[in-house]
């Protein structure tokens, strides 16, 4: 067995409020554990088949096995023993088709950010609710992910559905940073010639956009189809959209504001043709170079999770290089930099450039900081009259350059080619439903 090949298959994965688990079987080895098949039998037949009295203590759990829809993970289950669960992938696919599970968000919330359950109805109008009000921005809004609740047959009720708001501590931090970024851009008088591209893990991209939404128009571009075994955990992003929806629906009062494009930062997550993974990767859907020009964009602030890690994602190289050639400044901003105090070297450099050298250095630092450099992370680009000292760092000096990429010019559709079957699997189902296809069940998705 090589290190690179798939030597194991994921036979079961759970991530719910009651169980986090993964079980593997070796490829090419007869499965030791009988497959869980989820059809036909009932609780009673399971009990009879196994013989309740003969079962050792741990089997008590199995005897409680019933059809369940709990904690956001929907599993329609009754156990039966399949005699020939063996090493061929058709059987594996058949088992996956039988074990009907849907994604479940990690940090579910009963309400949206406003403490309302109005999201249940709002889920069905998500695409329309989040559409930019400016006509010239609307063509760039991608509604594939925001259409999922409606396409998956969401009924506007929590019961039995995996669709629900989600918010994690990191998302709340991202929201705060989004608000800070909005305040600083507002304070500096940023206008429509600036485009902000949020390229963070999906939920944080969404939360940051929510923090920016009442200052700048937001354009959602995520197109990854949710799937339990998706390369991209876009169900988490959808959960964030439902949670932050009321804030995302806010509109800036003034038209001349920067525009914010929201990307799924995990859209190109690693994938190596694993049999048990659904390939819902995508390439960014942003305006073309010409379209950016038509929108009046002269500056692009590319927001990534970390400062200093300035390499853009592979699918953006050509666009960014083209923008630079067209005279558009593309600069990098580490998300965690927002709201942070300036580095001492920056303060010292600015102080030296603006004040007599005879002053005590400690006084220079304090004076400089108080004189308006809490927005240093934006000043350093030289866009707002700052950067007097010429101080720079990797983020400020970032320039897109042509390079080879792992995707080599390919594009990915977010799983759209399997949209129909996946949507079918994501829909609501009765507790005893059987048959049909689920994700890659027999359809070859992700292989």
């Amino acid at each position: 067995m090589s290190d690179a090949a798939d030597d194991f298959l994921v036979e079961a994965f759970f991530d719910s409020r009651t169980l986090i688990a993964v079980r593997f079987s070796a490829v090419g080895v007869p499965a030791a554990s009988p497959a869980l098949t989820l059809e036909g039998a009932t609780f009673d037949s399971w009990t009879r088949n196994r013989g309740h009295d003969a079962a050792p203590p741990k089997a008590r759990w199995a005897n409680t096995l019933v059809v369940v829809a709990v904690g956001g993970i929907l599993v329609s289950i009754v156990v039966g023993v399949v005699n020939s669960v063996r090493d061929d992938r058709a059987n594996i696919a058949a088992r996956e088709a039988a074990v009907r599970v849907v994604p479940t968000v990690q940090s579910p919330s009963e309400t949206d950010v406003d403490g309302s359950t109005g999201w249940q109805a709002g889920a069905l109008t998500l695409s329309e609710d989040l559409l930019p009000s400016a006509p010239d921005l609307r063509p760039y809004a991608v509604r594939i992910l925001t259409d999922v609740p409606a396409d998956a047959g969401f009924k506007g009720r929590v019961d039995g559905s995996w669709i629900r708001p989600s918010v994690a501590p990191a998302d709340r931090q991202a929201f705060d940073r989004g608000m800070t970024l909005a305040e600083s851009l507002k304070g500096l008088g940023a206008s429509r010639d600036l485009a902000v591209i949020l390229d963070l893990p999906g939920p944080q991209s969404v939360a940051a956009a929510a923090g920016l939404a009442d200052f700048a128009p937001v354009v959602m571009t995520m197109d990854n189809i949710p799937h339990l075994r998706g390369v991209v955990k876009s169900h988490e992003t959808l959960g964030a959209l439902l949670y932050w929806r009321p804030r995302l629906m806010r509109r800036p009062a003034e038209p001349d504001r920067p525009v914010v494009f929201v990307l799924e930062g995990e859209r190109l997550a690693p994938y190596a043709n694993q049999q048990d993974v659904f390939d819902n990767r995508s390439t960014a859907r942003l305006p073309s170079i010409e379209a950016f020009a038509k929108l009046g964009v002269k500056k692009v602030l590319y927001v990534r999770p970390e400062a200093g890690k300035t390499v853009e994602q592979d699918d953006l190289v050509d666009l960014f290089v083209g923008l630079e050639k067209a005279g558009v400044d593309v600069r990098h901003l580490g998300f965690t930099t927002i709201g942070s105090p300036p580095p001492e070297s920056y303060v010292a450099a600015e102080a030296a450039a603006s004040q007599p050298a005879s002053q005590p250095s400690s006084r220079r630092s304090t004076s400089t900081y108080r004189s308006g450099l809490p927005y240093w992370w934006l000043y350093r680009y030289g866009w707002f009259g700052g950067a007097r000292s010429g101080w720079t760092d990797p983020d400020a000096s970032y320039r897109a350059t042509q390079r080879g990429t792992t995707i080599g010019g390919r594009t990915f559709d977010g799983g759209a080619s399997q949209r129909a079957s996946v949507m079918s699997g994501l829909g609501p189902r009765s507790a005893t439903s059987t048959g049909g296809t689920w994700g890659r069940g027999g359809s070859g998705v992700g292989s």
Binding site: A21, R23, L65, V70, V75
Partner: protein, 182 residues
Amino acid sequence: MSTFFGVQLAFESKGREDLRAELGRTVREHRKSTNVLAQRQCWSRAAAAMSDFLPQAVIGTWDLLRDGGPAAYEEWASGLEVMAGWPDADFGRGGSLVLVSAIFLVEAGSSADVTLGETCDIAEAAFHDRATYARLAKVFPMLNFTQVQGSGLYIAPGEGLSGFERSVLEGEGFEYLRPVRG
């Protein structure tokens, strides 16, 4: 023929709120481990986490079965996986115990089987000593994963609940769990 090896420990999460988060992360990352190298790396991480949290272990059990290994594996797996459907009330109220289980099925007579045999060669009086569980956890990444036919890692409850109430893990269905000593 195959050999079954399983370890189950209930950890007190009070004061170690990072316990479940770390183990949960391990499981989620483990899910990507579809080759031998990745399996070893992830079981290394699981072993490290279990060892790190071992002072919090309260009750536990372990098994090495050379007869009926596949049946034992199936029994543990199905018994644990059905917990995904437990109602919250089955975990008791206000509990803080987190049940962590690791199961393996290895090729009989293989070097992995021999390794397990040597590791589990423990005097009965020390079966449930903390040091024994430390020894057992350390064996996870030492297995030859080309001879591992199946494995599973389980954390219950998930991060949506506080934990098991102690009386639940001392009650019906969990009678086999023993206090961890030392």
